[in-house]
Structure formats: C-alpha cells, structure tokens
C-alpha cells in the first residue's frame, strides 16, 4: 500500500506519463470492460433490480440448452481434431526431411489470412443443395451437410492453422539433440517420440487446444452458414435473438452464458498451461539430424498432409471457380459479372472495410506498443489491471463484444450506433492484445539500460520513447499490424452487430450474399478480400525492407 502511494506520487510528478496512464485507464474501462458489464447488467437487471428471469428463460429452453451443449461439443471436437491435424503438419515439417516443406507451410497459413467462413462457403458450394459434388456429380438433392458434420469440417479447416503455428513453435523449441540423445541411449524411434518429444510438447499442445476451444466457441461465420436449425450454436442464437427477435436482454443472457466457458479456458491457458511450457532452447536452434522418423512413417505423414493440403486447395479452387462461374452449380460459363457487382453495388463496403481496418489497426498497434511500454518499463498502480483487462478482449467471443457494444453505446452520452467510431473503437480494442503481447515480448528482450543511456545523455521521457524505444519496437509493431489488419479485414462476429447502412463491411456483405443464395457474388467478394489482404502484407513487408533493410528484424538481437 505504501509502495502504491509512492508510485502514485512519482507518477504525478511526470504530467505526460500521468495523462497517458489516465487516458489508457479510462479507455480500457470504457471500451473493454464497460460493454462486458453492460452484457451482464442487461441480462440480470430489470427495473433496477436483480432478476434471473432472462437466465432462467435461456436455461429452461430446450433449444438453447442444446445450443450450449452443441457449442461446447464443437469446441472440444475442433480443439482436439484441429490440434491433431496441426500437430501432424507441424511434426512433419519440423521433424522430417520431406520435400515441398515451404509449400506445406504456405498451405497451412493461407486459411489464417482468409475470412474465417471461407471453409463453410466452399462446403456449401461443393456439398450443399446445389453443390457441385452432391448435385452436379452425384445427382443428390437433399444433402445432409448442414449440422455437425459440415460444421466440424469447416471449423477444422479454419482453425487447424492456429494450432499448426503454435505447435510448430513448440516443436522447434524442443532441441532435436534431446531426441538424438535419447536414441543414443538405445530408445526405439516410437519410444523416443512417446517418452521425449510428446511429453515435452504436451504443455504446448494443451495451450493450442485451449486457444482452439476459445476460437471455436467464438466462431460465428461457419455456424451461421452451416449449423442449420437442428444444430443450434450459442453465438448464432444470440445473434438471432437480437437481430431477429429484438430481445436484447435475452440475447445478452445467451452472451453471458457463452462467456463462461470462454473465460474459463482463457484463464486456464494464461495462468496454468502457459507457465508449464518448457524452454529448452539454448542459443541458436540446432540443426536436426532428423532420425526420429523411419522412411515408412515419413511417407505416411507426407501423404497425410498432402491429403489435407489437397482439401485446402480444393476449397480455394472452388472459391475462385465460383467467383467466375455464371450461376454456380447450374451454369458454369465464365463471367466477370460477380466482380462487376463487387466493384459496383458492393464497392461501398470494400471502401468502408479498407478505411476501417486501415485506420483502426495502426492506432491499435501504436496503442498496444504504448501499453506494452508502460507495463514493462513503468511502475504505477493499476498496471496489472490494464494488462489483464486488455488481454481480456482476446478471450471474449466477438458476439459478446458486439452485443456489449450495442448495449453500451446506444444512448447519450455514448450515442455511437451506426457510426464509423463504434466500428473503429471495436476493432482498436479488440486487436490491442496482439500489439501488447508482441510489444511486451520485444521490450523484455531490450536491455533497459539502452533507454537509460538516452536519458543519461539528456533525453526526456518523451524523446526517449519516440527516438529510442519506439524505433526498436518497429518490427514488433509491424508484425502485430499485419496480424490485426488481417483479423480486422476478416472479422465478422462482433462487427455484424455494429454495421449500418452508412458503414458496412465486406464480411457482412459476403454473409448476406450467402444467406440470399448468391454464392457467386459471395465467392467474388471473398476473393477480393483475400487479395486486398495479400497486397497489404506485401506492401508493409516491402516498406519495412526498404526502410530498414535486412536490419528490419535483426537489430533487436545485439
């Protein structure tokens, strides 16, 4: 307590820092915490008194109970199967010398830079009622793709890359020399895998599963397209309750229930699993001698991931083809009319999306760097509160945030409904954890005496941050920028509550095209979206390369 008071006194001596801390404090409370509190109060408070009526309505409805179980089930299944596919990919890439590694790496990353419902879209186009495979090739008209099977497939395709990236990092950090050593001691290949590699990877796998669980629970696009009415999913039900029935309290109550498993998984991940990660890296990653896998197993793994790769390629080929086919499923003549639509009627939303993502992500990234700096380098009361709260928006499903925003900002003094501001604020604070996390990681590597040296030479706090700290954080800034730009461009779950006729988003457009059965236009939109993202990544990378040369990523290391 005495320490806190001392910190506060120190803080008040530095007016600039003090102002920034206050601003960040207030905005974190207002734009992250307050909407969540709104979700809770709207669902359990009526006429100023506590009421369980809405929650009881949700729990007593068979349909919604089912939705809860379905959501959890999908979360568990996607988490395990998605992590399994991700692990197979990561293991094959890091532990064998198969050909085409780079290709597989790209294949596994492509779904990350696409709208998260592209899998669902392709499935409808291939296996739906008008699907290419089901109806054109097989002549079936009543397909059973809606429901658990189609959805599971789509979500695995959407989320296994997340597991892949995580687990690749984990496996790379387990030095193959450990495996070599174990094999030297006479372990058989499988035994070494089971007794050395797998146990070392277990915390990483657990962490990846929890992340996938959180993401699947929060997923909105795939279930909206594929779940169908007989397989209700919570996030979709909350959306329908609000936009279909205009029942805000009940929608909020559903959101509240959705929040519980998400937050549980998040805190498990952050405070339990993350602490158990082993670090076996010593200096540079050692080059593996790759002896862990016998040739037979190697080619088995190779065929497995080739099969997965083929599915991904098929999905994207379907989207491309669909974007150019006149009427998907019946008239396959090539046409540009869907693109004409995108760049005609639909162009408003293209423009809006680029403006919103292009403006909010740099702000988000910059703010993330500032918060990271404050958290790592400064001592003030509320520091931990800011860090944990800002990480929260990672864990909270977009649907919940979206509902929170419309509840929180629909009346004076925060009347923001339908404005550019509400979308931007949502994106800024939704992706801020990315910037904060990479900023913190970089700052922890930077020797604090570098900043002290600047102060020692006469720089004040502001010029030290601007001229020394910030430039050193540039690589982290840009990598978080790319990541949050991609997320913002492909976001739907929160944004769908916040768009209006004045400010619309491409993802929401794609959804409504799918709902009205215009698959061609949806495919063309998706394709344009992916191309915009690729262009942005390309431009940012080359700017960085041009400005900082090869140094871009390396000057942190000395």
């Amino acid at each position: 307590m005495k320490e806190k008071l001392r910190q506060l006194r120190m803080l008040s001596k530095d007016p600039l820092l003090f102002t920034i801390v206050i601003i960040i404090f207030v905005s974190v409370i207002l734009f992250i915490l307050y909407p969540l509190v709104k979700v809770i109060t709207v669902s359990v408070v009526a006429d100023g008194r506590f009421t369980a009526a809405n929650l009881i309505k949700v729990v007593s409805s068979w349909h919604l109970r089912q939705a809860f179980f379905n959501s959890i089930l999908m979360g568990l299944l996607t988490a395990s199967l998605g992590s399994l596919v991700g692990f197979i990919f990561a293991f094959t890439v890091t532990r064998t010398n198969i050909p085409l590694k780079k290709f597989f790496n790209i294949i596994a990353i492509i779904p990350i830079i696409s709208p998260p419902f592209i899998g669902a879209l392709a499935i409808i186009m291939l296996f739906g009622n008008n699907g290419f495979i089901t109806s054109t090739l097989l002549g079936l008209f009543n397909t059973k793709i809606y429901g658990i099977r189609g959805l599971l497939f789509a979500q695995i395709v959407t989320f296994f890359p997340v597991a892949y990236i995580n687990l690749k990092g984990v496996l790379e950090s387990i030095s193959p020399t450990l495996e070599d050593a174990a094999m030297d001691l006479g372990g058989s290949r499988f035994k070494v895998f089971r007794k050395v590699t797998l146990p070392l990877a277990v915390p990483g796998i657990a962490s990846s599963m929890l992340i996938l669980f959180i993401e699947t629970l929060a997923d909105f696009g795939n279930p909206l397209i594929l779940a169908g009415s007989r397989f209700p999913i919570l996030s979709v039900q909350a959306y329908l309750e609000i936009t279909g029935m205009y029942n805000l309290p009940k929608g909020a109550a559903i959101a509240l229930i959705l929040l519980i498993p998400s937050l549980t998984a998040f805190f498990l991940q952050k405070y339990w699993v993350a602490k158990k990660q082993y670090v076996t890296i010593t200096g540079k990653p050692t080059t593996s001698t790759i002896k862990l896998v016998s040739p037979a197993v190697k080619w088995l793994l190779f065929s497995l991931i080739s099969f997965f790769a083929l599915i991904i390629i098929m999905i994207y080929a379907t989207i491309v083809w669909g974007a150019f086919a006149n009427v998907w499923g019946s008239d396959n003549t090539l046409t540009l009319r869907h693109f004409a639509y995108v760049f005609g009627v639909g162009f408003e939303s293209v423009k809006d999306t680029i403006i919103i993502a292009g403006l909010s992500t740099p702000i988000s990234g910059f703010l993330g760097m500032v918060i990271a700096f404050l958290v790592v380098r400064k001592r003030f009361p509320g520091r931990q509160f800011i860090e944990v709260t800002s990480l929260l928006s990672f864990a909270v499903p977009g649907t919940v945030i979206g509902i929170g925003y419309i509840l929180a900002f629909n009346s004076y003094p925060f009347l923001l409904t339908g404005t550019l501001a509400i979308l931007m604020l949502n994106f800024i604070f939704r992706y801020i954890p990315v910037g904060i996390q990479s900023g913190i990681a970089v700052l922890r590597q930077i020797d604090p005496s570098i900043e002290e040296a600047a102060i020692d030479l006469g720089a004040d706090a502001r010029s030290t941050f601007r001229r020394i700290t910030l430039p050193m954080m540039i690589p982290a800034f840009f990598s978080s920028l790319i990541y949050s730009f991609v997320r913002a461009m492909t976001a739907i779950s929160a944004a769908i509550f916040l768009v209006s006729s004045r400010w619309n988003l491409m993802t929401v457009q794609i959804m409504s095209q799918v709902e009205s059965g215009r698959l061609g236009a949806a495919a063309a939109f998706s394709l344009v979206l992916v191309l915009i993202i690729l262009t942005a990544i390309f431009v940012i990378r080359n700017l960085l390369l041009y400005r900082y040369g090869k140094l871009g990523g390396t000057f942190l290391k000395i």
């Binding site: 002290e452 040296a453 102060i455 030479l457 006469g458 050193m472 000057f555």
Partner: protein, 396 residues
Amino acid sequence: MSVTLKNITKIFTDPSNQAREVVAVKDVNLEIQEGEMVTFLGPSGCGKTTTLRIISGFETPTNGEVWISGTLVNEIPPNKRDTSMVFQSYAIFPHLSVSQNIGFGLELKGVKPKEIRRQVEEIMEVMTLTNLYNRRPDQLSGGQQQRVALARAIINRPKVLLFDEPLSNLDAKLRDQMRIEIRRIQQSFGITSIYVTHDQDEAMTVSDRIMVMKDGEVMQIGTPFEIYSRPANTFVADFIGRVNLIDAVVETVEPESISVVCGGGGEHRHKVITSWAGDFKKGDAARIVVRPESLRLSRMGDTAAGADGKATAAAEAASVSAATAEENGTARSEVPFLKGIIKRSVYLGPTVEYEIDVPDVKAQILAVTYNPVEEGFYRNGEEVGINFSSAASHLL
C-alpha cells in the same frame, strides 16, 4: 566538478516479497576531488551499482545528499544532471549508426549538424574509431562497442563520468588493454570519474582512490597503496590480493609504534609495527597483516638440498641456490621471526609460492619468492625461517 555524497542510504523493497526491505547502500560518505578517478570496489551485490545510479539520478536515495560541483542535485532528474554513464552492456542504440550514437547527446542539446559532425569526427579520432562513422552497432567488435559507448559519454563534456563494470563483457586480453586506455582518456580529458568494478586488479590500475564496499557499507577509502598495504580491516585485507593474518598480542603502545608478540613469546617473537588501524592497548589481541611477497624465507638446518638424491627440478635448483645463498650470506645469518615447515610449493616461473605450516602460531602462511633461478627453492618438508620488515607489516 567535485562530487560529494553525504550519508547516502538506499533501501529497496524486495520485489518478490513486498514486506521485506533490502538495504542496498548504508550511510555512505565520500568526497571526490575535481579530475579524480575513484573506484567502487566490492563483491557482487554490495551496492556499487546502486550508489552509482544514485549519483546519475536513476535511483533516488532513501536518505542523504548528492552534491555535484557545489550544487545539491537530489531533485534534479537524470537527464538534467551533468553526468554521463558508460553501461556494463554498453547500451548502444542498436538502430543508430556509430556516429549517430556518439552525436546523440549533442543533437539533443540542439548543436548544429555541422558542428556535431566535426566533434564526432574529432572524438572518433581520439578513440581510434575512424572509418566506422556509418557502421551499424551490430557490426562492431566488443572493444569497438566499448569505445563507442565511451565516446558517446565523453563528447558531452560531462562534469562526472560514471563507469559501471565497463570491461566485464570483454575477454581478458582486451580488458587489460582497455583499462589502460580508459585511464589515459580520463586523464587527458581531466574528467572527474567514478568507476565500478569487482575486479581488484582493474581497481588498482585505474584509480586515484578506491572505495571498498561490503553489504552496502564503506569498508575503506584510500589510495591503491593504502588499500593494499594499510587495510582498515580484515575484510579489505582479505578481499584485495592474498594476505597472511598472524595472531599477536599487544605488548606496548607508543605514539609512533606498537610492539607485539607472537606464538606465546620467546626471544625472537617480538615485532615493532609502525602502521595500524584501530585502537590498541596493552594485552589486546591483534593480527599482523603481511602480504606473501613481503615475507623473507631462510634456510634453517644444514641438511639442505638433494639429500635424498631425487633429481626433481626443484631439488636441482635448490642445490644451485644453496651455494648462492651462501655467497650472499644473508638468509642464513638472520634470526627468524617464525619457523615453519614447507607444506606445498608451486613453481610459476617468475615466482614460487609456498604454503608453510607454522605450528607456533597455529597458522598456514603463504609466501612468494621471486627469481627462483637465483634465489633457489625450498623442498617440501623442509624447515624454513620466516621474517618480514616493519614497513611491510600492518596491525589490525
């Protein structure tokens, strides 16, 4: 440009246990003259860095005053203090070139670019950094980084230059070279400097005066000679170099000398000592401090060398030297202060080190002899006489 520390105390709260307090610096008083180079020397964790950071302004003392050239600077933030620091990790700005690093301070002061360039080039010349003007820091060797850090600190002409273990990241050879260079540059610019190290050789080489610290407290402040030959307490005596501490009892105390007796008395066990630290009166237990190289050994019996005919190098040389010692006629004629048995000897080329059991004072004594090829060796098990002069001894 003098620096004065008055009753400086720094108490930290332990970051892992908020209730626990760590006294990092305790009541330090020090006056540093203009142009002087003072070293803080002590084992790791004794509060050297903290004291330095209090002077530079990065830590605020819990108690006490810091004065720089007659001004109380406690309330002045580090960026406004006229001190420049050379960090242990060099803290070179990794995204700036060598010249941008060195010119950073001048740029902040608003010096014109042309003038900055001139001064940077000038100092790079002095520091033998020419041709590295546009180099990136990651392309520099350790020694070059060190020089850039020094140049960056010096170019601002600070009132006080602060070094925090600046050489600890260099390899041994470069370290020896750089410490001489640092001393040269410090003297040629005449900048008041404070140098932190845990390496006593380094402290001896670079300092005008040394402040020895332990657990946050000052143990002694003095010239390298005083610290080494006239230590204020056993900690200092022990921490700097190797030392023999021989138990003794005070017999008489005179204004200019103290006479003591060792090992229960006897005809030759009395010593008059002219240098001491602390108060003594008759009958006090005391310790004689004497460095191994100040001991003179002498051969006792006549059964000296090569008796068992073993042709070890030591034995061979001993037979040579027996004759030499005879010639000089010194070693033998002296009546020894103590007698001991050689327990172990290590031949190092220029010197020989002996561990000698001295039963009379129940101690092991370490002696170093020089020039063994002429002075000769003593064999293990041989009885030797041990003596030293009053000038070489000090009483604690």
